[in-house]
Symmetry: C2
Subunit: 275 residues, 2 copies
Amino acid sequence: MNRSTLIAEIQRKKSFLCVGLDSELRKIPAHLHSFPDPVLEFNRQIIDATRDLCVAYKPNLAFYEALGPAGWLTFQKTVEYIGSEHLIIADAKRGDIGNTGAMYAEAFFNQLGCDAVTVAPYMGEDSVKPFLTYPDKWAIVLALTSNPGSADFQQTIQADTEGPLFEKVLRRVQTWGTPDNLMFVVGATHPEAFARVRALAPEHFLLVPGVGAQGGDLAAICQYGMNADCGLLVNASRSILFASGGEDFATAARNEAMRMQGDMADILAVSARML
Amino acid sequence: MNRSTLIAEIQRKKSFLCVGLDSELRKIPAHLHSFPDPVLEFNRQIIDATRDLCVAYKPNLAFYEALGPAGWLTFQKTVEYIGSEHLIIADAKRGDIGNTGAMYAEAFFNQLGCDAVTVAPYMGEDSVKPFLTYPDKWAIVLALTSNPGSADFQQTIQADTEGPLFEKVLRRVQTWGTPDNLMFVVGATHPEAFARVRALAPEHFLLVPGVGAQGGDLAAICQYGMNADCGLLVNASRSILFASGGEDFATAARNEAMRMQGDMADILAVSARML
């Protein structure tokens, strides 16, 4: 999916919601465990319940790899079930030397048909560039993540710029791609950083985890992080998937997704009036 | 495999060679393509040809993921075929928030039976710690990698320490584990850095890629990187796997592995005399 289609979908659905398919087998409702592939059935029902409310899905590979080779097949079938009307983000946080990175890009873009892959920047240019060579596909590079460990290295101050490492990542990685094939991960748990991120990367889409279970504030993020194209994909995983642990899980997931989409529609309306 | 067994195996085999199973389907000899699983057959013959010469195998996940769900099964069967007498390193370069990291650890340690996983440090403490909670299992954290992109962030100078980022990674990550469950990746293409790495991490094993196809010099690495327990696992992938592209590939691989093991035996003998 390319940038203009993504922006059009955000406007059409009045939503910049990304549903994270962190579908942990142990957490899915008991009545699904009799299905041949319980995780796939769970995903199908979550997808059916949220399709019209979100513009992206983000399955996290860890939860599929933990199931062995069968989990990889579940991942593939989930991607197929989502189809082509949503941006499909493989949350894989890959990153390896050039020839290896190219194999990962082939795996996620060609083999599995994903639109985007999350990529760790630590190994530098030749680890990121293989994800930037496919038309209408995206690398989403970690800048400032939502977890406590983001303080360990991402926020350490660099001698040359006197700014934190994640700002160097934002600056340097931008020179390898364009707003049409490159996004950044910026966690919702750092609302104060969004103004700075936007100063450094005004046009790029930002993928924002950490709303919901991790406690990030949607309004604060949008105030500082939105641009004229919206420029945000806000992810919620556990707060939607596990809104109920019972047989009504899909309805509960829809209600939570609808609550978030409602908030997003309001924010988009205010934002449109201000432009 | 625990540390004392690893050290004993290095002494017994007079080798600290790790064979990287970067078994790219397009590169394996033509006559293997008639097998039901050509990559598995290639790996079996490589493993049989090198078992007595190396102490570790390091399959790189990218080359298996690129084959889709079937590749994941090939990875699993390769790990089973290696068995329990070698350290099995899943070269996966994973790294994600705590609950997700825990799923990756479960995937590689419990589901797949690997001994070690390579982990990217960018997301900090809660992304590394899940790999440090399994007895006799290892996290191998990227410090200074062998690729050109290692200059982009790993070598940038930090304001507080006036040293490069990878030194901060070495210092901080050490506080999360011990030399019994934590190793670091230090690329052979930076021989000048090994003295500094050893000053900061005297006891930890170092996994050293970049000898062979990437051009690193074994003698220089050992001069500065070896400690009283050897403390090095030197990896070669392409230079062994693809020593010949013909029907004699396994013999050619054995010859190249034997050449490296011979050099290592000489270095270990000199090192033993000096202690």
